[in-house]
Symmetry: D2
């Protein structure tokens, strides 16, 4: 069964509320580059992960921090698992919206969920998630950093 995704209302700072679930999402927009397309005339699947990155970075920034700042504090968030489900396709020059929200947090892992949509037509293009761990610059796995913990806490998610 296809995922549905409807926006109920818009909040400040780029946040919106999803109708069915009540989830709060960060939203940003971008335009599909020719560089992102492939010979099938649509966005090459791997590029949705770049769009997810736009959403993830924007979500952290909308919470008053930045991933760059997290790295400057000596913590890195490599992806350990990712999934992309494609419901439709996106064309060159389309203006798309990416939605991102914290999904879950555990002592050494946390994940974000994403939706890519053509907002003009309320058309769902893709959705998925990325699971991250937190490491230092020697690739040592550490507990999730306080900046990230706080962002997830703002969404009612704790690592207990």
């Amino acid at each position: 069964m296809k995922r549905r995704f409807e926006i109920e209302k818009e909040l400040d700072a780029g946040f919106v509320v999803e109708a069915r679930t009540g989830h709060r999402w960060f939203r940003d927009q971008f335009r599909v580059l020719y560089a992102d397309t492939d010979k099938a005339g649509v966005v090459y699947h791997a590029n949705y992960l770049k769009y997810f990155e736009i959403g993830r970075a924007g979500l952290i920034r909308a919470n008053g921090r930045s991933y760059k700042e997290i790295e400057e504090l000596g913590r890195f968030h490599p992806i350990v698992d990712l999934r992309v489900q494609l419901e439709s396709y996106a064309d060159y020059d389309d203006v798309l919206a990416v939605y991102a929200r914290p999904l879950s947090i555990a002592p050494v892992k946390f994940s974000y969920e994403y939706v890519i949509r053509d907002d003009d037509e309320s058309k769902l293009i893709a959705h998925g998630h990325t699971v991250h761990c937190c490491i230092d610059d020697h690739h040592k796995v550490l507990p999730v950093d306080p900046v990230t913990e706080q962002i997830f806490a703002d969404f009612g998610l704790s690592r207990r």
Copy 2:
């Protein structure tokens, strides 16, 4: 629990047999470009999907056909679902091996499985799968094309 991946023996035409499962895989090798890395000094996660593409195209070619030929016959294989699990990381200039095999086939869907490994150290870097449907050039979903069906049949997989 981490996935294990050991090769039992090498066959002709780039094929190998996995020890634990007896699965037959196609294997190809490639070198990590500087262009594939990111500021963490390792391969950017989205690029594993390009490595999966190398394995998938090579697998079809090792069966005597090519994805280009499938498109010339008017069929396209867009990805509708994909997953990448990262067990370790790959560095610039590493020579990696990609392994690919048909995973499953249904009337309107089929999937490939992949493993990325540093063969020198028997180190597993990443694994995952892609799920495809079969469409014509008007984006109409069709039954899986006979070329693909035959490749999957050679691996003992039928769409029944």
Copy 3:
């Protein structure tokens, strides 16, 4: 000798006037993705061509047309020559400005010039140009299409 690039004043619709030359440029902004960086920690050189594309597409759009529309009219603008000069480097998460303007037009060729700058610091990062020809969907070279001719004419450039 390094290129200088100073803005004298801002016009409507994203256009600005360069101080030294009086040239009119289209300006857009974008943020450097992690995906754009390489293991040297800066933007991988090939990605400046994607930033040039952002400027070129925006310039056409600011003139009331779009490159997508040109393709729908059956004309394509492949690049036949390109140059990028890098004066400095750009970091992850930097907000950069791309400036683009029509540079020259001949019966079967036309070119755009670009500047990439960190506007906050008036720091020039890169500049360059792309030379295009105009073809139909059979790769036949044709005279420059009327849409493009009009855009260049608006900048005082004719193919005579």
Copy 4:
């Protein structure tokens, strides 16, 4: 006038001699990925710079060193100027050859030249060059490193 490029003879270790000029070039081959194409059905122009990277890295390796090793010695070779001229286009799944050779060396700059060709048809696809400087990990410009100097010397080029 279009560039001509004919091979006179093959040497060891991937090197060939160009007919008209007597220049010695390193040659490597690669296959065009779907990820490299765009909606025009051909290789997106920026990707030629990745193919140039394949040639440049292979050239250094064929001389018994590697760019990775140069970086481990604390020297980096950022591109400060680059040009790509496109004579034809490359399709998905084409097997292309990249040719690379040292072009010139000065106290603080050096350059490589490249040719991309479809060897089956002796068809020239693209050619160009990249100009590099040599920096340390604090972005300080330094004289060209001895490893690079030696490679250029092997091609009869010195920085005097």
